[in-house]
Symmetry: C2
Subunit: 489 residues, 2 copies
């Protein structure tokens, strides 16, 4: 362990790759593009799941489970969807293996499927095929359903958490009696995602909608939250789609209105994935390792004993157990690291690498003085605190850390946000990294040109911002509002 | 809705199929053999998951996630495993689709995988391939890891929950420094499963080990719990395998002992699946619908208002809200069903079908008298209770129902358990249904003959029972102990 991370300034990309492995979060598997999520990384995902799942349920959603496999023909039913998703997919063609002469196994050519099955890249098609049976009248609406699942999109260039062929996510799929209600649902979920990103992940996000070319395949409108990473690149952290009646029409899902008329149902879908763990890492961590916001840290406090003799350890352990009990009573997760196989310095570095928000160190002198050494992971500051009301002090400190992590990320974003009106400055700021707010003439052609010349894409078009007349930074044509450009993950 | 179930006596199998659909638990999907788990069914699974997950964590296990796909060659590495699992599998051969001339999609022949990928039927191979990297010394042991995942085993004849091509499960995979520790782990988990089955599912289970021919492919010993369904068939409800060093040898996983010697690691694996929902249904339900033990019921109490006029509803709703609040404060889940689209009789039948343990009905006269009508789902008994301390009364009633459901299932099993010494009686009892304890000569040949002639299999060999000398019920050869035979799911 110890500090063997590549530094961010030296090679940001390598820093990230090193960190994911050294903090024991995930690793590549024997299957190209598929990762193994290790227990420490999975514990972060479980925390995310629990918080999001509670929020989904509070807003009236229920969980269900739909099949992993989707008949190939389903993908051709929605014209835009087929373009976007029926491409880089895992295709199941056979359902049996048999032994060969050499003691191995081969695919049994007799067991070929009549119609190939696609491992779901997303589930709109199979779910809307099901909703046809579930929806008859307005009484059956709204359907507010979510599923936690694995999905597969064959990727040629993969990176742990950020882009893997298989990933874990949640996908919400809702059905409504009116356009208005469906749009409200998509917006409600966007706000829920933004709240999660900011108040739990400590990661400020911009909210808005995608340009037509960046929309989800089959959506009328794609709402998104966008975060800024420490290298000045944007990362899309969640999307919520208003799908109009596209899928209802493709899968013939109609309902009888109160007025006894048959109408197509309105739809939304929305999701966040294990990609959020990648975002969490890149938003806050430093050259010493992971920095985790307390609300998502699997271990919030680690206690390390400092001792030479076994009697000292015994006395320290007694005190550590007392502290542990008091902290746990406040719902704080604590680990007491009394491994005798490693020195304190090694342990300090290890827990720093793993991003534990608060470290307590207790030595014989602390016992004498009634004190404890407290180290903050976010600022790396140390302090000596008196034992009295330690649980409350730590509770306050964790809140302070949660807040500081957010404020730090917010300051970073603000110092990397630019309003730009000239093409030269646009190119310069995009190259340096950050969100560049600029006028755009609204055409896909200009958007494409800008992308080709700078690699920047429109991250979002604000929905709540004021209009401001101006000229497109690229074409000089008139524009009604600025949009946010950035290079992105 | 209403009582449209086929009765158990008329056609048990049809009763089950009807019930799964009418209680809104699951349905077949467009993909042959894959089910859709509907919100009400999934809510039961979520309850099961939460309870089991807590128990796994209390016993030191952590969750992780391993790839869905397994390279085909991995299956040939463990000789017994390949026989058992590399057969009816979903095989991924391609990774891309392309548009055809007719607006559809076809598999791109250019995008053929060099080595086919198998959709995991179980994950021993990919996990032990990973453990090779994780285990170097005794300090890395034990590894106590579980994953919640979907798996696929291609099935020709499927039934909702009981046998589907895709199902959800948890699979634990542990690595240990000694045979003793691994055996203890397998036994610990068996006890954990038995505790869950009996004290949460209300389903009494027998515990023991499988005969060699019924063992998991690659296991040295398969521990199992077996439950009795209402048609007298046994259902295997969970298995825990001691795998010896088989997978460590197949995937070359060695560790350095304290004495600095290289040794192969010892293994276990264990799992329960959504099949448990099928068991839960068949163990307790009746001709009116589902009967759920309170500890696994998504809704524990439903309140139905009985009224003619809107003013009456208002007054009842006030009281219902008060009761709801008091019950929720005790951690009891409550639904107040004030739909104005349905009559009370319809609602009663619907909640009976869905197995809600306790139904409260409140009418204007109840308000005057300070009473409420309480109906138990398990016994269908009704009672009128005074409102005072209603929360405590309901809490006690739920405990009583939980206990009664278990006792009823236990009585059923006891009245369908036989000690048999003659072949004629054996055939007769097996045909009638139940557990038949009989002597067996220990040979696979006899086991096979008995299966051919009666369809009965050895469900388990007890590990804690006393030995008893006797003669094999089929061959007459000497036997050391009785084993449990039954027809099974």
């Amino acid at each position: 362990m110890a500090k063997e991370l590549t530094s961010r300034s030296e090679n940001y990309s390598q820093w990230y790759n090193d960190l994911v492995v050294k903090a024991d979060l995930a690793e590549n598997s024997a299957v190209r593009g598929s990762m193994v999520i290790k227990p420490y990384g999975y514990a972060i995902w479980e925390k995310m799941q629990r918080i999001l799942d509670d929020k989904f349920k509070e807003t009236g959603h229920e969980n269900a489970y739909f099949p992993l496999f989707i008949p190939k023909s389903f993908f051709s039913k929605e014209a835009d969807h087929v373009e976007g998703f029926a491409k880089e997919c895992a295709v199941v063609t056979h359902y049996r293996l048999k032994n060969d002469e050499k003691g191995g196994v081969v695919v049994d050519p007799e067991a070929k499927l009549e119609e190939e099955l696609i491992v779901r890249p997303t589930s709109e098609t199979i779910i809307w095929d099901t909703y046809r049976k579930w929806v008859q009248s307005y009484r059956d609406l709204p359907l507010l359903i979510n599923q936690w699942a694995n999905v597969v999109r064959w990727e040629m260039r993969t990176r742990l958490f950020l882009r893997t062929s298989e990933f874990l996510w949640q996908e919400g799929h809702t059905a409504h009696a009116s356009r208005k209600e469906a749009v409200e649902e998509a917006e409600t979920i966007l706000k829920l995602y933004a709240d999660f990103a900011e108040n739990y992940m400590g990661m400020p996000v911009l909210q808005g909608v995608k340009s037509a070319s960046e929309r989800f395949a089959g959506a009328i409108e794609t709402y998104c939250i966008e975060a800024m990473m420490q290298d000045g690149k944007a990362l899309q952290a969640g999307t919520s789609h208003f799908l109009g009646q596209n899928f209802a029409k493709a899968f013939d899902v109609k309902y009888l209105t109160k007025e006894n008329k048959l109408e197509y149902v309105w739809a939304t879908s929305w999701g966040v994935s294990t990609r959020l763990i990648g975002a969490l890492i890149m938003a806050h961590s430093d050259d010493n390792g992971l920095v985790l916001p307390p609300k998502l840290a699997p271990i919030q406090v680690v206690i390390v004993p400092i001792y030479r003799k076994d009697e000292q350890l015994e006395a320290i352990t007694e005190k550590a157990d007392e502290i542990t009990k008091a902290l746990r009573a406040k719902g704080i997760s604590v680990k007491y690291d009394k491994r005798d196989t490693h020195k304190p310095g090694f342990k300090f570095a290890e827990w720093e690498m793993k991003g534990v928000p608060v470290r307590l160190a207790i030595g014989p002198r602390d016992l004498e003085n009634g004190t404890v050494e407290v180290a903050r992971r976010d600022t790396l500051e140390k302090d000596t605190l008196r034992m009295e009301n330690l649980d409350e002090k730590i509770e306050n400190l964790l809140e302070k850390i949660q807040d500081n992590i957010f404020q730090k990320a917010l300051s970073f974003r603000e110092s990397h946000t630019y309003k730009v009106d000239s093409w030269d400055e646009f190119k310069e700021k995009i190259e340096a990294g950050g969100f560049v707010w600029a006028h755009w003439d609204g055409t896909a052609k200009t958007e494409q040109k800008i992308k080709e010349e700078t690699k920047a894409t429109i991250r979002l078009i604000p929905t709540d911002g004021e209009k401001e007349s101006g000229k497109c930074v690229y074409s000089g044509n008139p524009s009604e509002r600025r949009v946010a450009f950035a290079k992105s993950y």
